[in-house]
């Protein structure tokens, strides 16, 4: 098996963008390819969730190979709800590692603004198993995390303010990130008093509707931030079938695979980007990925352990909550923040970071990918 590194990266600003999904993708890919010195590209993979229903556009892979002048190389779109980007990256990594390709361009994008909010809500609900009485009940995608949050607080003694602390931390990080959707200062009070979405979650506990694209180039060798390992797992898409609602097996298992394959343990990780689609999801993820004990994630928030100077800084980009969440782009954008951290040029730079981890979740725990990275030459 061969070494694989990220040799280029590109990203658009997240938020409301009047450009088309094609234009955003081309912009992110151009930047990544120019940074990598425009090497020969062997394949293109695009992570995207709902370009058909939200942007009236499919065949994103072929559009990119054409617009980038890459000739007749293979290309495709990969869908896994919010984990689409992470899944696309994993496929590329495995094929370069195995020797099938020497370089793969991995992009991710979503164009979400434009349609009516109801159309967007319906599209997001496609990330649940709707052929069930659960779908008929009126449970929404955020609703799942509301149910989870109420049980988590009941079981472990966490309070509403601990959820708000996640949103506040990520907003404070986003304030330094020019690519972020939300850079305005906020407060615990404003977060806790915001309009309810699905109790106990309010507006600031939920990631926004965003447009954006991100891209990385993966090449064989060690001339860049090295990808040490990749983990992927699935979980039930139905809330009523979860063995333990407070345990997210896809997140846990994908982390376990990635740790085992790299020989790296949670204590070795200097910086993390993980899937904070909702404030509650971040607390579950820091537990499932082994940074804190089960049921103690909220204590880590209380004690500032997920900020600079704590056990491990989490979501230094601002996370999905404040950087924004253009669904298909998210998994790649998380990886870009880790790559920037390990190249020593990130917003909210973590001093002397040598190892980073990126976790991307799809659906209500339906898919998860974890990738572990090492600084060039470290």
């Amino acid at each position: 098996m061969r070494d694989v590194s990220v040799t280029g990266r590109g990203i658009t600003k997240f938020g409301k963008n009047t450009e088309s999904i094609k234009n955003m993708l081309v912009e992110a890919c151009r930047e990544a390819l120019i940074e990598a010195g425009r090497p020969k590209v062997d394949a293109v993979f695009v992570g995207n969730f709902a370009s058909g229903s939200l942007a009236n556009q499919e065949i994103l892979g072929s559009m990119l190979t054409n617009e980038l002048g890459l000739g007749s190389i293979p290309s495709m779109k990969v869908e896994g709800a919010c984990a689409s980007g992470g899944l696309a990256f994993r496929q590329a990594y495995q094929l370069v590692k195995a020797g099938e390709y020497d370089s793969v361009l991995v992009a991710g994008a979503e164009k979400m603004t434009g349609p009516e909010t109801e159309t967007i809500t319906n599209a997001i609900n496609h990330a649940m198993d709707n052929d069930s009485s659960e779908g008929a009940s009126g449970l929404t995608f955020p609703g799942f995390f509301g149910v989870l949050a109420n049980r988590y607080m009941y079981e472990y003694g966490a309070e509403r303010r601990h959820l708000a602390m996640v949103s506040l931390k990520n907003r404070e990080y986003a304030m330094n990130n020019p690519m972020a959707q939300f850079q305005k200062a906020t407060s615990l009070e404003e977060i806790m008093n915001a309009r309810p979405i699905t109790e106990p979650l309010g507006l600031f506990d939920c990631s926004p509707i965003s447009d954006g694209a991100a891209a990385v180039l993966l090449e064989k060798g060690k001339d860049g931030v090295q990808v040490l390992s990749s983990g992927q797992a699935s979980g039930t898409p139905l809330m009523q079938e979860a063995d333990d609602l407070l345990h997210m097996p896809a997140t846990y298992e994908s982390g376990k695979s990635a740790y085992e394959a790299s020989g790296i343990s949670p204590e070795d990780i200097d910086v993390v980007e993980l899937h904070d689609c909702f404030s509650m999801t971040e607390i579950i993820a820091i537990e499932e990925l082994g940074f804190f004990d089960k049921g103690k994630g909220w204590v880590a928030l209380e004690n500032d352990q997920t900020k600079h100077g704590g056990t491990v800084p989490v979501n230094t980009s601002g996370g999905l909550l404040s950087k924004g969440h253009p669904i298909g782009a998210t998994g790649i954008a998380q990886i870009i923040q880790i790559v920037d951290q390990l190249n020593g040029r990130a917003v909210n730079q973590v001093e002397n970071a040598t190892h980073g981890l990126a976790q991307n979740l799809g659906g209500t725990g339906a898919y998860s990918t974890v990738h572990i990275f090492r600084k060039k030459g470290a």
Partner: protein, 101 residues
């Protein structure tokens, strides 16, 4: 009111009504089994931001209820203040959704 569930006699496993086969032995010969419709709230949420189909109901309560026979079910709830551990009872099925009181 009772809730109709599905049951695999071969594996002694209870399933939600919308299952197509037994997830263990793959048998499609699932029996129908009547559950008494009583259960305890495992957790809940009140949904304010609803998709179009449910917009007229909003805000509405979603519960995850542990039925006495052992099945866990996602349902809607109509009634007083909700709390984890509250005893609830099935009242009707509306457009495929289980509604408890």
């Amino acid at each position: 009111m009772t809730i109709t569930a599905k049951y695999c006699a071969e594996c002694d496993r209870l399933y939600h009504f919308d299952k197509y086969h037994c997830m263990v032995c793959f048998s499609k010969n699932l029996e129908e089994k009547e559950l008494n419709g009583r259960g305890e709230v495992y957790s809940f949420t009140k949904i304010h931001a609803a998709p179009k189909r449910f917009a007229t109901l909003a805000p509405y309560n979603i519960i995850l209820v542990d039925l006495e026979e052992g099945l866990r079910l996602t349902a809607r709830y109509e009634g007083d203040e909700l709390a984890i551990g509250k005893q609830v009872i099935f009242s009707e099925k509306v457009d495929g959704a289980y509604v408890f009181r």
